[in-house]
């Protein structure tokens, strides 16, 4: 098939969703621009180590190795054949009108587009734990990236805490690699986990794999815990203080803590591009509003975990669907979407049950002591945030202006959801009524010299 349209399509993100979107467009004779922050295509879950590393895909990705290899080789083939215009290590910082402004290794670069597919993925969803600002406390995703892309453990005696599939997976991978894990602390109770089970059977193979992994963790794993605080000295953590499901206090010595509660959609560019958002109770976060194909607005499409947290398999499907929608809207022939839409439904049933089984720890977040740091960037505490609700009002953007929660370098990515809970608790309103932080460009910090030099 040859190109029958002069329209320029830009894909942001080269993870499972972005790669599959590119594939569909290429098959239709379009040469999309693909802009990605990574050194190599693959995204986070199928992240590849830099040159010179030698572990096999089986060692890196386990049971998912064949999927990782398929995506990597597809992407590398498209790059080698020149059928995509690929810009690695490049961050899109802003979008307005039909323009994307990016920072590339060669400096500032503007991209124009007719249609935009955002496949920006997700990041760890974090809840504040007293003491989590210490050096040596990392996200669970970071813990996994360190192992996968660098072959390292971020500490010699590790406590993993939080909830969700990544908790069990990272623990299993670290143990297999020879790391020393002191405890795996899940804030989800066994009761919650059992309640989520029926829906999770939409993907029985995954459930079985999860059970087998969990069984191997043995007595290191504890369900239904309450995390009290991370005790540190100047070098980092020395112990995790926690209570078990029966309320008994424990102190576990460690020099590194990995924290995470599932994922949070990365939606900054979607917001700047004009997407509407709804608070999703199931996933306990704001998610972009689209149709089933991923249409978010005029000439704007979303796919992958930046739209719905379905994981890598769901992202591949969503990437294809967004590209098909794009082709449909251009009036071009496109593959049939029905089987992918059915798969998406099944993945969503599974993911929603997973979210029920391993819930966002709403009650724990709302009850954090006043001295707990909520904003890691600028050290703003829960007490300062609560105080600003009293004198400033119960709205996230007001609280950001007054207490600076969400004003720091991460731009609210790690404090927004906890901040909304604290606002809601203080003002006795629903979490969704605390409001969503407005996006501000640039969505990544920008060395001013790079921008001025190349302008």
């Amino acid at each position: 098939m040859t190109a029958v349209s002069g329209e320029k399509v830009v894909i942001v993100g080269a993870g499972p969703a972005g790669i599959r979107a590119a594939e569909i467009l290429v098959q239709a004779g379009i040469r999309p621009v693909v802009i990605d922050e990574g050194l190599k295509g693959g995204g986070q879950i199928y992240r590849r180590p830099p040159e010179g590393f030698t572990r096999s895909p089986q060692q890196l990705y386990g049971s998912e190795a064949h999927k990782a290899v398929a995506l990597h080789s597809l992407f590398d083939r498209m790059v080698a054949a020149g059928v995509i215009d690929y810009h690695p290590q490049s961050s899109v910082l802003s979008t307005a009108g039909n323009l994307l402004q990016a920072l590339t290794p060669a400096g500032r670069k503007d991209f124009t587009y007719h249609r935009l597919i955002l496949a920006t993925g997700a990041m760890d969803r974090l809840a504040p734990v007293p003491g989590w600002q210490a050096p040596g406390v990392y996200s669970l995703g970071a813990t996994q990236i360190a192992l996968k892309a660098q072959g390292i453990a971020l500490g010699g005696q590790i406590v993993l805490a939080g909830s969700g599939p990544l908790l069990t997976l990272v623990a299993t991978q670290l143990l297999k690699a020879g790391a020393n894990i002191a405890a795996i602390l899940d804030t989800s109770s066994l009761h919650s986990q059992i309640c989520g089970l029926p829906g999770m059977l939409a993907r029985p193979g995954l459930v079985l794999r999860g059970f087998l992994m969990r069984a191997k963790l043995g007595r290191l794993y504890h369900a239904g815990v309450t995390l009290e605080r991370i005790e540190s000295d100047e070098r980092g953590p020395v112990a995790m203080h926690w209570r078990d499901a029966r309320g008994k206090s424990h102190v576990t010595a460690c020099d590194m803590v990995g924290l995470g509660w599932h994922l949070r959609a990365e939606t900054q560019l979607a917001g700047l591009a004009g997407c509407m958002f709804d608070y999703d109770e199931g996933w306990s976060q704001w998610l972009p509003r689209t149709d089933r194909m991923g249409r978010a607005g005029e000439r704007l499409y979303l796919a992958g975990d930046g739209l719905r947290i379905l994981g890598a398999d769901g992202a591949e499907v969503a990437g294809r669907l967004a590209a098909i929608a794009c082709l449909q809207d251009m009036g071009l022939p496109s593959p049939d979407a029905h089987s992918d839409l059915r798969r998406l439904d099944r993945f969503e049933r599974f993911a929603r049950s997973m979210a029920r089984a391993f819930p966002w720890p709403r009650a724990i977040v709302r009850a954090v002591p006043d001295e707990t740091v909520v904003c890691r960037c600028e050290g703003v505490t829960a007490g300062q945030l609560r105080e600003s609700v009293v004198y400033g009002g119960a709205e996230a953007n007001r609280v950001k202006s007054l207490a600076r929660v969400g004003m720091g370098r991460c731009q609210g990515r790690y404090c927004q959801l906890a901040g909304a809970e604290l606002i809601a608790e203080k003002a006795v309103i629903k979490t969704c009524d605390a409001g969503r932080l407005r996006e501000q460009a640039p969505v990544r910090p920008l060395p001013i010299g790079d921008w001025v030099r190349d302008a």
């Binding site: 453990a153 070098r235 010595a253």
Partner: protein, 107 residues
């Protein structure tokens, strides 16, 4: 209350679990000669021999990165010439001169 527990500590924060056969790369951290392996990120390279990459501007604690995927911006550090870099998404290069605190010329 403190636990009084003291886990065993080595020179740096990280433990290498695999892929240790890569060629060595030399760099300087706060004026001190250090060694890393080709393919290490700056964050990995620094945390082989240190426990943090910078001092927090807003609290008493040091920082050592957090997300390792370019989202949290916790791991920016300095080079001797004043430029800054994000340690988790930059690979170490032979001869890099890194600083955990701003150089004198930093405004």
């Amino acid at each position: 209350m403190t636990s009084g527990l003291q886990p065993a500590r080595s020179a740096g924060r990280i433990r290498r679990l695999a892929e240790t056969g890569r060629p060595q790369v030399r760099f300087r951290l706060d004026g001190v000669d250090c060694a890393a392996l080709a393919g290490d990120t700056v964050l990995t390279a620094v945390l082989v021999s240190a426990h943090a990459v910078r001092q927090s501007e807003f609290g008493p604690e040091k920082r050592a990165g957090f997300c390792l995927m370019g989202a949290c911006q916790d791991c920016w550090l300095w080079q001797e010439d004043g430029r800054r870099l994000r340690a988790c998404s930059t690979l170490i290069v032979e001869g890099m001169q890194l600083r955990t605190a701003p150089p004198e010329i930093w405004p």
